[in-house]
């Protein structure tokens, strides 16, 4: 074991124990760990703590919070006069996202789409034109509505 060389691996041990690292970094670290019991023990200890930290589940988003956030943004924006004249209706925007998801599903399944009026009320044709593929839009907005899985 080379103490000075071990110092070089200090950060890599933490990086590798806490998440993904580039393959070449992992290969280099693995080579060092195989010949260095002290760094191996350090890696295992960090990994154990990380496992305890990761065990704590993601707190659930309280029911109705997104709607509450919409209202709070409207109130906050009005208070600060940020949206004077802009007239963004956050609640309608949320409904538009749900509608976009329905449109995408309908398109994928070859079903007739539902009435698009709600979407057009909130997200203008100009913005819709920026997002040419409805399925992509629905997926992105669906992520906002329903979560992105493990990685947020």
């Amino acid at each position: 074991m080379d103490g000075a060389r071990c110092g070089l691996y200090r950060d890599r041990i933490v990086e590798a124990a806490t998440g993904p690292v580039p393959p070449e970094v992992w290969e280099d670290l693995r080579g060092h760990l195989s010949g260095c019991p002290r760094c191996r023990a350090e890696f295992d200890a960090v990994r154990d703590v990380v496992a305890w930290l990761r065990e704590v589940p993601e707190p659930p988003v309280p029911a109705g919070f997104w709607e509450e956030l919409d209202r709070r943004l409207q109130r906050g924006a009005a208070r600060r006069r940020l949206l004077a004249g802009a007239g963004v209706d956050w609640s309608k925007a949320g409904k538009a996202a749900a509608l976009a998801a329905l449109l995408a599903l309908a398109a994928l399944r070859g079903m007739p789409p539902p009435d698009e009026t709600g979407s057009r009320e909130v997200v203008s044709p100009a913005v819709q034109a920026l997002l040419p593929r409805v399925a992509e839009l629905a997926q992105a907005w669906g992520a906002g509505l329903e979560g992105e899985g493990d990685r947020w």
Partner: protein, 180 residues
């Protein structure tokens, strides 16, 4: 030009609903980050609102040097630092260390597990804010060091040093749990 860039341009051109689309797209990652950072829903909700109002004010000046999501999480990190500065009595890490004894063995394994989660969450809460942000982004958000450096507006080297310091503290505090 990607979707977010197009939305930012539309917003600058006066299309307010483009901002609504960005809120819907990114409200969940912003909230989840803040929920882990603050340890409670009420503060996370207040800060989520604050983040998007700050973003609305400054989106016109957004340079596009990073992704919109990265930019929002940077605003969220700064909002947390401001929030922490306003708090009167931050929880000292030593106080958590006193709590982190091995859980009592008993018939109710579920209760034990919940108690363990509480202790671990409190240990994370007791970290200094920047260390906490690095840990939350890495362990719960799955971000790379390069992405965390962008979010925290620092070098990758600083992220590495911050993570090392945070994990060292957590090892000391949670050691009895891990070994128990």
């Amino acid at each position: 030009m990607d979707e977010d860039e197009r939305l930012v341009r539309a917003f600058r051109a006066g299309e307010a609903s483009a901002f609504a689309a960005l809120v819907i797209k990114y409200r969940e990652p912003v909230y989840r980050f803040l929920r882990r950072m603050t340890g409670n829903h009420e503060d996370a909700a207040d800060l989520t609102q604050e983040v998007f109002l700050r973003a609305y004010r400054s989106l016109g000046r957004f340079q596009g040097r990073c992704r919109v999501k990265t930019w929002l999480l940077r605003i969220a990190t700064n909002a947390c630092l401001d929030h922490r500065a306003r708090q009167r009595d931050p929880l000292p890490l030593e106080a958590v260390a006193g709590l982190a004894s091995p859980p009592e063995t008993g018939p109710d394994a579920r209760a034990e597990r919940r108690e363990r989660w509480r202790l671990v969450a409190e240990a994370v809460q007791a970290l200094p804010p920047r260390q906490r942000a690095a840990v939350v982004l890495r362990l719960y958000g799955g971000y790379t060091y390069a992405e965390i450096a962008e979010i925290m507006d620092c070098s990758e080297g600083t992220v590495k040093a911050t993570m090392f310091a945070a994990l060292r503290k957590l090892r000391v505090v949670l050691g009895p749990l891990v070994e128990g």
